[in-house]
């Protein structure tokens, strides 16, 4: 062994690398800054920058913003931008994790009934508000619906014999559960036409009414989700060789799938309950990262976290400026921008097989 120790170690392996991470984080700071600077209130750029610098520890800068302007900056723009970043990071990393654990490039965080369950929960909340429970909270019900949707998919997939319990069974159970829950939701919606508009606007996704309270309510779930996915990113790489080989390498594929699905679901449910169904982020961001930075989840998970935040904060910026002072639903923007952008990356950087 002494001879080995003196040799260099040239085994090449995948890593995020400090340069890539720094680049992604710099992009994140830029987009976050832009989100604070731009808005219908027309705050002065220099003064906003001064106010932001003043918030940094050990930095004292005078800013001439009025109290009202400070409120717009810190209580409206900042929480909204941060929520965009959190939701984007969560959806993108959850999407990447689902793709890894199911070895399916089309898997997204809504695959196993998160969206349908949350949709049903939100619809029930909106209906109850209209029926004499005006204080019925929407987000917790959407969250519970999302978790129940996935739990139902998982439970149903386990009723088959042990030998046949595969990733495919789980995905198919998810499809069935999602169709069923969506049917229930559509039924409730159509028998209560007055609330149709409200339900529909929730489904399209929005970040409008976000305050710090909403943010603190979902942050713990999201952080648990990120942490688990970061810890399991190497396990996701092992899963790439299939369940049988992963088992001979010393991993329990069913256990990994259960833990990763649970973590990604927790995050996705929190994201959906806060912002509605924002389409596409969970597919586009991880695939863009994959095309630009390689196959390994040790790279894809951390970069998807950062780039998901960048993408959604950016999309929200577009959503609230192009038709200002009105706003587009953010789900429309993510699909409208994301689709063509993704096609461009796909064309320029080759195959996904």
């Amino acid at each position: 062994m002494s001879v080995l120790h003196s040799l260099p170690v040239p085994v090449q392996r995948s890593r995020v690398g400090p340069r890539r991470l720094a680049l992604a984080l710099a992009l994140g700071v830029t987009v976050l800054g832009a989100a604070l600077l731009v808005g219908p209130a027309g705050l002065d750029t220099g003064e906003v920058m001064a106010a932001m610098l003043d918030r940094l520890p050990l930095v004292e800068v005078e800013s001439s913003l009025t109290e009202r302007e400070m409120t717009i900056l810190w209580e409206i723009r900042l929480p909204r931008a941060v929520m965009g970043a959190l939701v984007g990071a969560t959806l993108a990393s959850a999407g990447a994790a689902y793709q890894g654990v199911f070895r399916n490039p089309l898997a997204d965080p809504y695959l196993l009934g998160v969206a349908a369950g949350a949709g049903l929960g939100a619809t029930v909340a909106i209906l109850m508000r209209a029926r004499g429970f005006p204080s019925m909270p929407l987000a917790p019900l959407a969250f519970v619906g999302a978790v129940l949707g996935v739990a139902l998919s998982y439970g149903l997939s386990r009723t088959r014999g042990k030998e046949r319990r595969s990733a495919t069974t789980l995905v198919l159970a998810g499809v069935a559960v999602a169709s069923f829950l969506t049917a229930v939701q559509t039924f409730l919606q159509l028998t209560n036409v007055t609330t149709l508009r409200e339900v529909y606007s929730w489904i399209l996704g929005r970040l409008v009414t976000v305050g710090w309270g909403d943010l603190y309510a979902v942050l713990p779930y999201m952080m648990v989700s990120w942490l688990v996915l970061l810890v399991f990113r190497r396990a996701l790489d092992v899963m790439a060789v299939g369940d049988d080989e992963a088992a001979t390498l010393g991993l329990s594929p069913r256990m990994v799938r259960l833990i990763v699905v649970a973590a990604a679901t927790l995050g996705a449910a929190a994201a959906v309950s806060a912002s509605g169904l924002i389409a596409f982020v969970g597919i586009i961001v991880p695939h863009t990262v994959r095309l630009l930075a390689g196959w390994s989840y040790r790279v894809i998970i951390p970069l998807s976290l950062v780039m998901g935040g960048v993408f959604l904060t950016g999309a929200d910026l577009v959503a609230r400026t192009v038709v200002s002072p009105a706003e587009l639903p953010i789900g429309v923007v993510t699909a409208f921008l994301g689709g063509p952008f993704f096609l461009m990356v796909l064309r320029t950087s080759g195959d996904l097989e």
């Binding site: 080995l4 120790h5 040799l7 170690v9 040239p10 085994v11 090449q12 392996r13 995948s14 042990k162 030998e163 810890v231 399991f232 990113r233 190497r234 396990a235 790489d237 092992v238 790439a240 060789v241 299939g242 049988d244 080989e245 088992a247 001979t248 390498l249 010393g250 991993l251 329990s252 390689g294 196959w295 390994s296 195959d351 996904l352 097989e353």
Partner: protein, 274 residues
């Protein structure tokens, strides 16, 4: 209680009893070859040994451990598997692939230490792959890929190697070289090897002992000379062969063209009548 002990193992898949009461032993450092016609149950028996499929009856004991009582992680430290058709993930690099072999040795954060990297490097060198560690797996030739899979198994640092038809996708030269490498690794690292083999000549030349399977049962067990005979190959493979042995090549199995002599005779007859 050293070595591998397979006791009365049966595996039922669906309605079929694919492995039927098989018992066998492999001594430490020994190379046991599993032969038998297609569908005899070789692959399923190997899957039963590695814990990839549930046992209907019997038990598999390795180094005193009943394998059904071990978790995947402990099992992976005892035996490394080279599958017949390894999955080749898109884009994965050779270095990363070989490092997957360290999975059962890593802590819960999955960080590879210097020792892990050195062991992987050692495996790459042992299989002549050190210059390919930055290449993508899907760009390798068939022979290079099979060596990468073997390097991954070696990186597991397990005392036992399980190979399922390792030469079936290789040409005669690459097949031979792979068997030579396995043999050398076996003696250098004192590995115990069990492998299903398609090529009877290679099986006879490289294995210490052979077990012939037919219809799920182990029907013959012994040195190659006693298992591979013209009679046993006719009975269980339905194959007409000549088995030739010689001092410089060991044993060779030559398939005969069935009915060749009869056809020759008939041709002479027809020619005479013209």
């Amino acid at each position: 209680m050293n070595g591998l002990h397979v006791r009365n193992v049966s595996v039922v898949l669906g309605e079929a009893r694919v492995v039927d009461g098989v018992s066998l032993q492999v001594q430490p450092g020994e190379w046991l070859g599993l032969i038998g016609p297609n569908g005899a149950g070789k692959t399923t028996l190997l899957r039963a040994i590695t814990g990839a499929t549930d046992l209907e009856t019997g038990e598999v004991v390795y180094q005193g451990n009943s394998l059904s009582e071990l978790g995947a992680r402990q099992r992976a430290r005892l035996m490394a598997v080279v599958p017949q058709n390894p999955v080749v993930p898109w884009g994965m690099g050779v270095g990363d692939y070989v490092l997957l072999g360290r999975t059962s040795h890593l802590g819960w954060l999955g960080r590879e230490t210097r020792t892990d990297l050195e062991i992987a490097q050692h495996s790459l060198r042992a299989l002549g792959l050190e210059d390919l560690s930055g290449r993508r797996l899907d760009e390798l030739s068939g022979g290079e890929l099979q060596r990468a899979v073997l390097a991954r198994a070696l990186t597991q640092d397990a005392p036992m190697l399980v190979l399922d038809e390792p030469t079936s996708s290789l040409d005669i030269g690459h097949g031979q070289q792979l068997m030579e490498r396995v043999d050398r690794l076996r003696s250098e690292q004192r590995l115990t090897v069990i492998s299903a083999l398609h090529d009877l000549t290679l099986a006879a030349q490289f294995c210490d002992r052979l077990v012939m399977m037919s219809e799920g049962k182990a029907i013959l067990d012994g040195p190659p000379r006693s298992v591979i005979t013209e009679g046993s190959l006719l009975d269980h493979y339905g194959a007409q062969v000549r088995v030739i042995s010689g001092p410089e090549f060991g044993m060779v199995v030559i398939p005969l063209r069935t009915g060749y002599e009869a056809e020759e005779e008939r041709a002479t007859e027809v020619a005479g009548n013209l």
